[in-house]
Amino acid sequence: MLERHLNFLKVASENIIRYKGRSIVVVLCLVAILLPFITAIAISQGVKSQSLLSVEEGADIYLTYDQYGKNSAVPLSFIKEAQGIEGILKVVPRVIGRSFIGNYLTVVAGMPTDALPPSLSLEKGRIFKEENEVIIGASLARALNLDIGHSFTLDINKSRILKVSGIFSSKSSIWSADLVFASFNDAAEIFRMPGQASDLLVYTRPGYNARIAEVLSALHEGDKTQPIIRVQTKDLVRQYFNKGFTMKEGIFTALYTVAIAIAIPALLVVSGFGMGERRREIGIIKAIGWQTSEIIEVVFIENLLLSLTAAPMALLISFIWIKLFNGFLIAQFFIAEIGILPAFPVPARYMPLPLFLSFAFALVLTMVGSMYSTWRSAVTSPAVTMK
């Protein structure tokens, strides 16, 4: 019994070798279809992994004022109001803003020096110690040719000359790439907002998060002259995150399913190359006693082999393109603002499910493209097909 199926495997692989041109075209078409799919899902998973660390390492609650439906600065005096609430471990002010350096857009972030971890993984240099010292991202350093000890100014405040004390490692995540990271006071001075934070990071005892969020939200409820407080808990951020990524990946997969459905007739035409000869061959093997089911099994094994060639090949090409060539040319289609050659490792994670899905897509495509024509040839009289 097994020997019979092994013989079919042998015949199927011989057929693939015999119709070399057709097989190469089918595999190349499949790789071209599957490559962007695998790459997009891998980059999405890579960004998702980095985002998850951003959520988990971030604060338990993010607090800002809400003015005109937008986040607005919080006075540092609010920290005293918040610190009295039971369950709050610490409240850290933060500055986040944007500024150009010439034509180059950067993100400016400021944190109090005493809130920084004891060691920070940098490409080179050290953490800022003196006034106006900053750490910059790897992309920014490369684009503007900045190095340790170099000085520059941000367009938003040209009176402050900033000095590079360190450069983030390119592995620090994609959001560090164009960052100017300064002490809280320096960042507040850069934006001319002393005594204000763009948001407050609230760290709480485990289990207190939801209750503290309620209390913080209600702090200004009684006083209509005070701005509305916007509170985002870690759980809420996880919700944005999970819903957003699932939706985007779902949309991408759905679009791909449509694209692949459209590719089926194209492949049907492509796989029709050499069908005349194939029809005669089917007629001959029918005449010597093959059953229709046996012919269909051989074609199924052929498609299985072609799919097992195309799907892993697409994954390996995508893997090499992203990991070895760092997504040269292709990564910019999936991550905005990174340019042709990113200065940081493109985040990508290759998971088993997209590989399996790619294989399934390839198998469905080739089966749809060949099964009907094979069955038609197999059920037609050998006298007709051998003509």
């Binding site: 980059i43 809130a115 971890p117 991550i335």
Partner: protein, 115 residues
């Protein structure tokens, strides 16, 4: 060795290499880059959520925690078409339509949700 046998061996090798790449990648992420990302995220208090390196248009795709509503809906025609490409141009972004806790605008900037 016959060509068909070579081809089957080639297919088996491709599958093994593809599976090895997937396994290596999941191991590599755990050991390689994680330390740097932890350190960066700890220092900045959690920065970045979407597939964009800087908020060239709005913060939604960069980090929804920083700004939950897209300011692009306010210009050039207030309430008109939102020209910001960041909402659709990426494969990964935080979901921009959840209301936030404590009042103010919904994350899509279109409605006020107040608790």
């Amino acid at each position: 060795m016959k060509k068909d046998v070579i081809y089957i061996i080639l297919v088996i090798c491709l599958v093994i290499f593809a599976v090895a790449a997937v396994v290596y990648d999941s191991y590599g992420f755990r050991t390689g880059q994680r330390g740097y990302i932890h350190s960066f995220q700890k220092a900045t208090g959690g920065l970045g959520l979407g597939a964009v390196t800087k908020p060239a248009w709005c913060y939604i795709n960069y980090d929804t925690r920083i700004e939950g509503s897209c300011s692009c809906i306010e210009w050039p025609v207030p309430g008109g078409y939102c020209y910001c490409p960041d909402h659709t141009g990426s494969i990964a972004s935080p979901h921009p339509s959840l209301p936030h806790k404590g009042g103010g605008a919904g994350l899509d900037g279109s409605k006020l949700v107040r608790k």
